[in-house]
């Protein structure tokens, strides 16, 4: 009980690495469950840091509606290395979630994956059969969703919902799966998991539900975790706790993380690399430092400028009023010609409405899609 309270309090204060280390060395190591030990061993054998885990190339996910075809993902390129955290950022409706669901091949009618390739551990997920895909979902790639409350089944117990994936993927008996579920619930910081497994989701708080979602996702020890705005629907303190859990488990299992968010604070804390998405395309892809210190694409600059800064009342900080990006995200059914950001772009050039700029590598790890940086582009 004391440890649980300590844990929560710790989460409130900070979710820095130092705090996590203190936490782990303190209470939890003495009772490290076998699940963790096994999972860690498995990771040490399989997960070589830096090796390419997931590569999405030219992903096309289209939704055919009566009004026309929406290209929610229109040539998305992404790379996630082993142990890396890639943040996928962009405004609402730019295709982040569709990209994530495409990786799991969970796109429903009227949507379909129209082209491209999704290479995971050397095999193209788009070429797998549905039953082969079942062995990827939940086992190799797991996902945590935005709304924890509505993402949990109201009529099944907490334990059942964590255990069922274990039963299916790891072929464990119900009893063993429940024992493992208890261990995972403890690992994500749900107090008294032996009793909680008999509870139903409506008996848990929003934060506990999101911990539960994380437990469900991690129960089969996946290589890649996709977290789709995991903290957006939670209050600030709970957000910090959830992020603490994610950071801790990610470090522990050398997990690769695809973090979908529009919270740039989260990106700064968490991500190794950032991909900025706009109207179904990745417009800039760079290491996190480059994005924050040296953003290239005008849209990235706009996003960074739109962060409100806490300078009020502090004489040492210059008060910077935040600026929003002019205009709105265009209607995906009526995209402007050429570069879709051109109508809102402060650095617009004459050729921008002509065609969408191709990806231009600035250095080995920094790619941008803008004519400002295209060496072939002739300046006006």
């Amino acid at each position: 009980m004391l440890s649980a309270r300590f844990h929560d309090y710790d989460g409130v204060l900070s979710w820095s690495a130092a705090a996590s280390r203190r936490l782990r060395s303190g209470v939890e190591t003495s009772t490290t469950p076998s699940w963790r030990k096994q999972a860690k061993q498995a990771c040490a054998l399989q997960r070589v840091p830096g090796e390419l885990l997931l590569e999405v190339k030219n992903l096309q996910t289209h939704f055919s509606l009566d009004q026309g075809v929406i290209k929610a993902a229109d040539g998305v390129d992404l790379r996630v290395a082993q142990g890396e955290t890639l943040a996928l950022v962009g405004e609402s409706g730019c295709g982040k979630t569709v990209t994530a669901l495409s990786i799991l091949r969970l796109i429903d009618e009227p949507g379909r994956i129209a082209g491209g390739s999704i290479t995971f551990k050397g095999q193209d997920l788009l070429r797998l059969t549905e039953s082969e895909m079942l062995r990827i979902r939940g086992k190799e790639i797991a996902m945590v969703f935005q709304e924890p409350m509505s993402s949990l089944n109201p009529v099944l117990t907490v334990g059942d919902q964590v255990a069922e994936a274990v039963q299916v993927h790891l072929k464990k008996s119900k009893k063993e799966a429940l024992r493992l579920a208890t261990a995972v619930l403890r690992a994500v910081g749900i107090p008294d998991p032996d009793r909680r497994i008999a509870d139903y989701p409506h008996q848990l708080s929003g934060g506990a539900c999101q911990r539960l979602m994380i437990a469900m996702a991690l129960s089969c020890n996946p290589s890649l975790l996709i977290a789709d705005e995991p903290t957006s629907s939670l209050d600030g303190i709970t957000q910090a706790q959830i992020l603490d859990v994610l950071a801790r488990l990610k470090a522990e299992f050398n997990l690769s993380l695809l973090l979908i968010t529009h919270n740039l604070g989260l990106v700064a804390q968490f991500a190794d690399r950032v991909a900025v998405m706009y109207t179904g395309k990745i417009v800039e892809d760079a290491p996190v430092n480059a994005i924050f210190k040296n953003p290239k694409h005008p849209y990235t600059v706009g996003l960074l400028n739109s962060i409100p800064r806490l300078s009020h009342g502090n004489p040492r900080v210059r008060r910077v009023k935040f600026r929003s990006i002019d205009g709105n995200v265009p209607d995906l059914l009526a995209l402007p010609p050429g570069c879709t950001f051109a109508p809102r772009c402060p650095d617009r050039m004459a050729k921008c409405p002509m065609s969408f700029p191709e990806p231009t590598p600035l250095d080995a790890r920094h790619i941008v899609r803008c004519f400002k940086f295209d060496p072939q582009a002739v300046p006006d």
Partner: protein
């Protein structure tokens, strides 16, 4: 839970009394009474009529009759049927069982027909099988029960596979208990099927719509993202949630089954409460009618109670509210 059931059962009493009061007022408000028809007979003198009226207590105002009836009910006396010349209790006993069994069997039919077809229609939405099922259920809904009953009679008569009317064959008494059961089911099959068809048609559409709604919920996406096989997603995660509205509907279905039974029982001559109510209504037999109406209201309220209990069983959120009032 027990407290809840007892509470609900106790709350049945004032409701039944209120229904009875209302029925008494309505019967009294209707012109004429049981003896009106007899008084038109020129061979019966007005004095005889008057003495009969006194004997039956029909000369008293309705509220006196009502209180007499309530007092009788408290001691298990349901009154006397004038038209059958027998105590009401003797009359309705077997018929209540017949109608209840008929309702139960048709409910089972409706569930076994509608849940699989509803699931199929939902899974193949807008495909030809869904369109066939939807149009067919609409067709059945637009048929009156009378027509369906006649159709069933025609089928029984022309095929000879099913008995026409009644609940048992000749020589029923000499059959073994298993043969008695199959004989009864043989008789009940057609009326129960006719009775269940309309309900199945409603339920198929209900299951289809709720399952489609449930399958678009976030937790279904979660279940799929876990890599569960499709049948587990649909049946474990989908159908369990889709059944709750069906259970709520089921409470009211029992009562609507009874009103459906009115027609079916009369046409297929099933000796149940429905046909008895009709007789009581036509001959203005007040106590018999009261017993039938009381049975109907108990069926409605009991059905709702049963539905609530079932819902508490299937939906943990309902249970939770009850456990911590």
């Amino acid at each position: 839970m027990t407290t809840f059931i007892v509470q609900r059962l106790l709350s049945l009493i004032p409701l039944v009394l209120a229904v009875a009061l209302f029925s008494f007022v309505l019967i009294d408000a209707a012109p004429g009474d049981f003896l009106t028809e007899l008084s038109l007979n020129p061979h019966v003198s007005p004095e005889t009529i008057a003495s009969l009226r006194t004997k039956y207590g029909l000369d008293r105002p309705w509220y006196i009759q009502y209180f007499k009836w309530v007092r009788g009910m408290a001691t298990g006396d349901f009154g006397y049927s004038f038209s059958y010349n027998r105590p009401v209790l003797d009359l309705i006993g077997e018929r209540v069982i017949n109608t209840s069994l008929l309702a139960l069997i048709s409910l089972l039919f409706a569930l076994t027909i509608s849940i699989p077809f509803g699931v199929i229609a939902a899974l193949y939405r807008y495909k030809w099988i869904d369109k066939v099922l939807c149009s067919f259920s609409f067709l059945i809904l637009s048929f009156p029960s009378l027509f369906l009953s006649l159709l069933a009679m025609l089928f029984a008569a022309s095929s000879g596979w099913f008995p026409i009317g009644g609940t048992r064959s000749l020589g029923y008494e000499n059959l073994s208990s298993i043969r008695k059961l199959t004989d009864f089911l043989h008789h009940a099959f057609l009326p129960a099927l006719v009775l269940s068809l309309r309900m199945s048609a409603i339920y198929v559409r209900q299951v289809r719509v709720t399952l489609l709604d449930v399958l678009s919920q976030d937790y279904i996406r979660t279940a799929r993202a876990k890599g569960l096989p499709k049948r587990m997603v649909i049946f474990k995660h989908g159908l369990r949630n889709a059944l709750n509205p069906l259970i709520s509907m089921f409470g009211n279905s029992l009562a609507s089954l009874l009103s459906g039974a009115f027609v079916v029982e009369v046409v297929i001559s099933w000796p149940g409460i429905g046909s008895l109510t009709l007789t009581a209504l036509l001959s203005r037999d007040p106590y018999l009618l009261m017993a039938c109406l009381t049975y109907a209201s108990i069926l409605l309220l009991g059905g709702n109670l049963l539905a609530d209990l079932l819902l508490a069983f299937t939906d943990p959120r309902v249970r939770f509210v009850r456990a911590n009032p």
